[in-house]
Symmetry: C2
Subunit: 491 residues, 2 copies
Amino acid sequence: YVDLVEIKDAVQNGEEIDRSRLHSVLRELFMHRFRSLSRVHVDDTGVVLLQGGTVKHMYSTDTEHLFRQEPYFHYLFGVDEPGCYGAHDIRTCQAFLFVPRPSPDQEVWMGPVRNLTYYLQKYGVDEVHYVDEMATVLKQMAPPALHMLHGRDSDSGRGMPLAHFHGISDFQLERSGLFVALTEMRVFKLDMEVEIMRYCARVAASAHIRVLQAVRPGMYEYQLESLFLHDIYSEGGCRFSPYTPIFGSGPNSAVLHYGHSGAPHDRRIADGDLVLADAGAEYYRYGSDLTVTFPANGRFSPRQRVVYEAVLDARRAVLAAMRPEVCWTDLHLVAEERILAALTRAGLLVGDPAEQVAARLGALFMPHGLGHFLGKQTHDVGGYVAGRFRERPTQPGLDRLRTARILEPHMVLTVEPGCYFIPALLEPALEGGPLHRFLVPEEIRCYMGMGGVRLEDDVLVTNEGCEVLASLPRAVEEVEAVMAGADWMVV
Amino acid sequence: YVDLVEIKDAVQNGEEIDRSRLHSVLRELFMHRFRSLSRVHVDDTGVVLLQGGTVKHMYSTDTEHLFRQEPYFHYLFGVDEPGCYGAHDIRTCQAFLFVPRPSPDQEVWMGPVRNLTYYLQKYGVDEVHYVDEMATVLKQMAPPALHMLHGRDSDSGRGMPLAHFHGISDFQLERSGLFVALTEMRVFKLDMEVEIMRYCARVAASAHIRVLQAVRPGMYEYQLESLFLHDIYSEGGCRFSPYTPIFGSGPNSAVLHYGHSGAPHDRRIADGDLVLADAGAEYYRYGSDLTVTFPANGRFSPRQRVVYEAVLDARRAVLAAMRPEVCWTDLHLVAEERILAALTRAGLLVGDPAEQVAARLGALFMPHGLGHFLGKQTHDVGGYVAGRFRERPTQPGLDRLRTARILEPHMVLTVEPGCYFIPALLEPALEGGPLHRFLVPEEIRCYMGMGGVRLEDDVLVTNEGCEVLASLPRAVEEVEAVMAGADWMVV
Ligand SMILES: [Mn+2]
Ligand SMILES: [Mn+2]
């Protein structure tokens, strides 16, 4: 696999990223977009104001959580430090950064105090001031309004808190427009952003290869998580995984959000287990999100191979069909159809796959959506934007889709078909109900303890089709060869 | 060093910990303590109510932070899962646990739904109910009052939010008493708690040894952090470090809170650097906190040795004097005196060490306190309890002490003397001021780029003296031998 040590020297602390260029291009694009969207005279638009994240503590203790910047603020300004604000004058395209004034003993505890010029050069903005000067500086800009982020994340359903600073009551606030415009812009990645995301995907793919070559029956699941995290950090400089990794063995591979505090990767991996590893790497606040599924002992059993190849066929079909103007919902149905067809061929189901799909049988084996936008958030923004694109579908399974949009170039999405044997879903269906007529209970019961298979790639929509950002061993023979020690070049 | 793999099988998910015994002993002790403290008739005391932590999300996204339980709640109930409450009837010593009612699709996303008997057996309480039944169950207990945690952490200065649940307005709430009693009890560790803390210390010590043997000039600081975290997790089953680790090389070794998001371990370690590594391991919500300082190339330079042995002598002197009835403030002064005496012998200072200490010269080289209570928080509770023990001193340096208490058996504290060359402190003093008369500027300037040295141990106060919970190589010869590949047995 790719020797990340070679490029590691260049990637520390985002040094290889031309922050100034990336964010000034983003801000300029945004200015044009916002002007055309707002449909008012340029002089009446004013100033965009974003508040960065602040340091959080563990309960009432003085233990700080390691800081990660708020995604919208990082998108326009690229700032690492907590407690900052950014303003962007969309009349002049000038960018202002406001940083906290250092406390007297900060140098002793936190390291050299940076002057304002340091931030000006690092972040390529036009002016830097202290946060306590913000009201004064903003007043001098005399904006007709401050445009504020105000909206709701369509994956979490949670609203963003409104930015606040001392003196804000002296300004006219405009809550409409900014959230939708900035959210929609984040859906389409610049080439520079894609390059960073490609790096995130390669680092994670290399770590997955490392895990594939290290796993042995008898290890604990958490040892795989530990090795993965070590590899992305030590080899790739990625201090965070974008989400809590999932390393589920045996029946745990069918628990979609396995790995949380109530199910903390504490199972000992057994010979004959399937292992599902869903883990990514975060760099410059962008993330990757990759899943591999493999047999702990290095050889797929015949039944494991049936399920694996059903998902693999779905993956191939989706990637072949993924291009601009295709609707994401239709690709989800393609994946369902391929999985159900394979299970039918293998004798677990009866009936016509098209009819099975129409009856929503797919949701019994793949109860999650085909994938999601990917970027500065794992479930990136823009999946549903109120009143602008297709609404969330309501049929079983499709209601889990994180977007139902028509694909366009420069979107990045995960493609993650899966097939799981989840007792909580299957047992009731084996007893009766509208889907019972498609099931072959005695066959399905033979697969029940196996868990599940998911194959997840990070995919860019191109003008002609799509591009997988990092290549992993996917064919049964490839996975088995890598697990036996064969080299694998992540490209 | 100790082969943690051998004991790893027993420590997964706290299986080796007899939760039921540990927490029922803690609750019973607490009941007696609270009864005697509250000075009212037992029947009038009522029920202690604690609220556990809840899952937090990253900003408005659906990305969950990996859950860590609130320390007071974990102390009395040992519960891993979020969203729970605990009640302890101090009239009958009966313990009640309230868990969230599972949502219909929880089994698909989070794994097998546990019934109430599972929690009853796992946590050894007397009754388990759902949170939505809590008001009803508590009313049946007819408590004269619900005792609520209400107080302020003396390290963070931050108050605890009051527990809340639906129906709380039907109860008489008593905010006084509980916080002080439970805080004070947490200061004194049971043998069972010490055993867990010894494990935390050994796991961290073994990981420090691994780092000592892996470090080479040319590596990045973050690669040491990555290796440490991998070792405590993969070998010790410790998913968390209790605080953000510090791996500072060269001048960064003098930045006391190095490693945060604004200074993220991104320096390349140079030949000739000192490296200061301050990192611990968390297990069963207890933590360790250990610091080693070593030369990146494996050999101390003469000047590095001067500073290192000054701190080493302070460590020896403190551990020799640490016993019940000694005041922590006096041990801090012992450390200062030894460090200043060594710097005087080496020609960096002039004057009488006792006079230097009285003039508060110590704070120029060690601007932090000698150590802190350790337990379920890194800076554990009980350092200052309003109106009950010695107040926080006000002299320079001593005002940083996290406690000024008289030592008693079963306390666990860190002992962490340090000596740093911090330009922000030393440069002004070299220019003039009351401490200038003690300084030999031309000598001190030779040490200025070196950074600093800290040696930190986790120490139990015993009846006769004290016990270091995990042994690290400390003598110059020991450190150099281990770095050259010699075995080290952590005991
Ligand atoms: Mn995903
Ligand atoms: Mn400490």
